[in-house]
Symmetry: C2
Subunit: 232 residues, 2 copies
């Protein structure tokens, strides 16, 4: 496995986006060094050099070349390590659908997830919660269509869209606990409820998905800081 001789992931254990890179590497059975950023406020020299444009994790460093942006990293991993099963669907149309929903998750759904925790006032919070649930209902439909009765969006095994959405599951649970709401629920999103269980139990995911209570502690500190920095 010569391609994997020098693989590093720059990241933090709390980041769903970092999880994407790690799950993809696990699926491909590529071993890597996980180099964690240690400060919330100061970035490491290696991160600043490796991602000078966005200065954000994750960065995959493969043979000393940095690759940035979580979904770009997942596609790269799929392109490079071709001996393990493909992460992207094999048919161009299915691939387009997976990319479409992954973009939806990042551009529309995730901002509303973030909105729950930084909303000012009960009304704004309720609106953000409704948006998150509406998004999940759309994703439930996408799941039914994409999985065609199989366990994952990607079919028999975890694929691109599973990674794109699944990486948020620990934060979803944290959000449910913090705000006393049910976001992923049996009545509206029965397929995703079962999918989420399967996803978190998968060997490629289990070791990298944060424990809810540990993440909850981190979240309380983070959101207090974020709210303190919001314009009044």
């Amino acid at each position: 496995m010569s391609e994997s001789r020098d693989v590093k992931v720059l990241g933090v254990w709390t980041s769903p986006f970092v999880m994407r890179a790690r799950i993809a590497l696990n699926l491909k059975q590529v071993s890597y060094d996980f180099l964690q950023e240690t400060s919330l406020t100061e970035k490491s020299e290696l991160l600043l050099i490796s991602n000078p444009i966005h200065k954000k994790v994750p960065v995959l460093i493969h043979n000393e070349k940095p690759i940035c942006e979580s979904l770009v990293i997942v596609e790269y991993i799929d392109d490079v390590w071709t001996s393990a099963p493909s992460i992207l669907p094999s048919h161009p149309y299915d691939r387009a659908i997976a990319r479409f929903w992954a973009a939806y998750i990042d551009e529309k759904w995730f901002p509303s997830m973030k909105g729950i925790s930084i909303a000012q006032g009960e009304e704004a919070k309720k609106a953000a919660i409704d948006q998150v649930i509406e998004g999940l209902v759309l994703l439930e439909e996408a799941f039914v269509k994409s999985s065609k009765g199989k366990p994952f969006f990607g079919g028999e095994q975890i694929g691109y869209l599973d990674i794109a959405l699944g990486c948020f599951l620990a934060w979803l649970r944290v959000s449910e606990k913090m705000h006393g709401v049910k976001l992923l629920d049996q009545a509206k999103t029965p397929g995703l409820v079962k999918w989420a269980e399967r996803f978190c139990e998968d060997p490629a995911v289990k070791g990298v998905m944060p424990e809810t209570d540990k993440l909850l502690e981190f979240a309380k500190i983070l959101f207090a800081k974020m709210r303190a920095n919001l314009p009044k």
Copy 2:
């Protein structure tokens, strides 16, 4: 060419994102029907059915199946019509770099382009102009690295990143004319100045790139409407 028997693009002639789909089809020499939306305020039934999530152009309809989001469409076209040269670079690392910069253009650079025209006050406008130019300087560096002395980001012929950035050239010129500034200029971005000329002269682009003066007329009406709808 059985794959191209039923190809439609839903769009408008003014949209850079629609241009992406059309240029990609032209590069692949796929003939298609261009179905234009006729109203700025009311969307066609076909668009609403084809892109129920975003209700936006472009939509590529191939054998009655809709594909949405311009960069997803370009990747789809590249995946389906494989007899013409590839639009994405062939090496995984180069492909990752192209995808990284395309995401940068859509998420960072384009919003600042839009910002020039909706900025309220001279100070905000100047800040937006500076941001656009800073972005172009970064893209100039990316061009030098990616093209390796060849005419395009993609090498000898137009590729993914050429399409992602090139589709904005008519709007860039409109912006320069409307605001009396030079955005793409010889001193700061000499490589891109020459690249832009080549791009617009390419047979795959020539027929779909709007004339600057015609687009300028359209832009004046559009921005007046946008400014009227901004919160005071």
